[in-house]
């Protein structure tokens, strides 16, 4: 296995308007994502998941450390990495069809092929018949699905997805999870998938990176053994429950620690 994406001691700080010293969003994050791997990132809100994804996309530069893609430092965004943004980021003046075609146009696909591909992927995410709707005529979940279709249609080697299924109902989410796994298996894409859902993480990922907050760190990377995933209803497998619990415990401990830190900070503030 070759390493596709490599984060080495990555640090990201933001200048803060509220405090004198810079805010540390990510601290000493080291993580390798292998070629063709499905890597899931879970972590509490505000722990730096979107920050991490922006760095991988090349939209922002790390304050320290380095990020390598195929062994070369990431200099900026490029067409080999597709992003599904947490806030959808659809163009309001384009229809659903237009939004999906947009990415294909960037790749220089001919127009008949663009139209055909866009229709196919909108169908895939269950939006056949909504091709000519503008984003303001779609629900939150539908917008999210257009954003997913846009990034899938344009077929990048690496897919960076920021809570792409968060706004969907359970039924649609399950369908799209299976669809994404299918696409991943046939295409051999490398996927970095951010989620809040522990079930989703275990269900989708080959490995799950559990993050902790303040500062954002990768606490542990958990292997999801491929054997038990072959079964029918893998969510009913006892191993599924064990992994689920392990991730839950890591997140829970981090939550407790954060609350304790806050209490300490308050006590200090009172004492001072």
């Amino acid at each position: 296995m070759t390493v596709k994406l490599s984060l080495q001691n990555v640090r990201k700080t933001f200048r803060s308007r509220h405090a004198d010293e810079a805010f540390v969003a990510l601290d000493d994050v080291t993580l390798d994502v292998e070629d063709g791997e499905f890597m899931v990132v879970v972590g509490p809100s505000g722990c730096g998941k979107t920050t991490l994804l922006d760095l991988l996309a090349g939209l922002t530069r790390p304050t320290g450390g380095q990020i390598l893609l195929d062994g070369k430092p990431v200099a900026g965004p490029s067409l080999d990495r597709g992003v599904v943004f947490q806030q959808y980021a659809l163009f309001p003046w384009l229809t659903a069809q237009g939004n999906v075609e947009f990415g294909l146009e960037a790749k220089g696909a001919p127009s008949a092929e663009r139209r055909e591909t866009a229709r196919r992927f909108l169908g895939l995410v269950g939006l056949a018949g909504f091709e000519s709707h503008h984003p303001h005529e779609l629900s939150g979940g539908m917008k999210q699905r257009v954003a997913i279709a846009r990034s899938l249609a344009y077929d990048p080697e690496v897919l960076l997805m920021d809570e792409p299924f968060a706004a969907l109902d359970a039924q649609t989410r399950e369908t799209l999870q299976c669809e994404l796994l299918r696409i991943w298996r046939v295409s051999g894409k490398t996927i970095v998938f951010i989620t809040h859902g522990i079930d989703e993480a275990v269900f989708l990922g080959q490995r799950v990176a559990v993050m902790s907050s303040r500062p954002g760190r990768v606490e542990r990377v958990i292997d999801i053994p491929p054997e038990f995933k072959a079964g029918e209803d893998i969510r009913a497998h006892p191993e599924f429950g064990r992994l689920r619990h392990e991730i839950w415990r890591l997140l829970h401990e981090d939550g407790e620690r954060a609350r304790e830190d806050e209490r300490d900070a308050r006590r200090l503030a009172v004492a001072a």
Partner: protein
């Protein structure tokens, strides 16, 4: 706003009755209601005008009757005089909108796209924008005389300000995440400009142009009243000087009507092209 609430409530009325004739009737009723509500105030003013002239509250030489005004209007139109002066006025507006609009767009894009241009131009522009067009006219007269150039330049000033302001505001307000999508697709600056920046700023730019055209129309009449030998404003001044107040009144109505039609056409165009924009800026 009003028309929207009325038209959205329309299907409800129709759905209640169910049958087609009633539906048509309800629709006709709604439309009639919409228009009659809007017409109420003008009709009241017309009635007051009629009363005032019938009872001679104000002498006829000063306040002609609505009927006489209407006849004067028809007469002016029939003799071709109205058309002639109107087309001169409209030509002036068109040239000024073209000139002022281009300058406004250029300035707006410069301030919106380049931090350096913004640093250089924005402060002075903010100050410049505070002067009413009328305030420039004496100065402009000094340099340009009172010929055609004065009119075009003065009216163009009125267009430049709203077009510039709305253009750069539209560009500076572009959502960051949309620009990021452009970056993810590795767009060149040209592609970003054409595919992201312009479409996104278009509602604001359009609203600026619309304001500019309306401002131009107002400035035009003013400049023509002040210094001109042709155009609607000139005709009005002339009629006042020879105490033909029926002509003045007829022309006031024409000026108002043209302004109304201009705004209406611009709004329809805007709705047509910017249907995706639910805010309807």
């Amino acid at each position: 706003m009003n028309t929207q609430t009325l038209s959205t409530s329309l299907p409800l009325v129709a759905a209640d009755t169910g049958r087609t004739p009633n539906k048509a009737l309800a629709r006709a009723g709604e439309i009639a209601a919409r228009f009659s509500l809007g017409l109420l105030a003008p009709l009241a003013i017309l009635a007051l005008w009629q009363l005032a002239s019938a009872y001679e509250w104000i002498p006829v030489q000063i306040l002609p009757s609505p009927r006489q005004t209407w006849e004067t209007f028809l007469d002016l139109a029939a003799r071709g005089e109205l058309g002639e002066h109107l087309s001169i006025s409209l030509a002036r507006v068109s040239w000024s909108v073209l000139a002022g609009g281009s300058i406004g767009l250029a300035l707006g894009f410069a301030i919106g796209l380049s931090a350096r241009a913004k640093a250089y131009l924005h402060p002075s522009f903010e100050v410049f924008a505070q002067f009413p067009v009328i305030g420039w006219i004496p100065l402009l007269m000094l340099f340009l005389g009172i010929d055609e150039a004065l009119k075009i330049v003065a009216i163009s000033f009125a267009v430049v300000v709203p077009v510039t302001v709305n253009t750069y505001k539209g560009i500076l307000a572009i959502a960051r995440d949309l620009l990021e999508v452009g970056r993810v697709y590795a767009f060149t600056s040209r592609q970003t400009l054409l595919r992201v920046v312009i479409p996104s700023a278009l509602p604001s730019i359009f609203s600026g142009i619309r304001q500019g055209i309306m401002q131009a129309w107002l400035a035009l009449i003013f400049v023509e009243l002040l210094a001109s030998s042709e155009g609607l404003g000139y005709l009005m001044t002339w009629a006042r000087q020879v105490m033909q107040l029926d002509i003045v009144f007829a022309l006031i109505l024409v000026v108002g009507l043209v302004g109304f039609v201009l705004d209406w056409v611009l709004q329809k165009t805007e709705n047509h092209f910017l249907a995706w924009n639910p805010k309807g800026l």
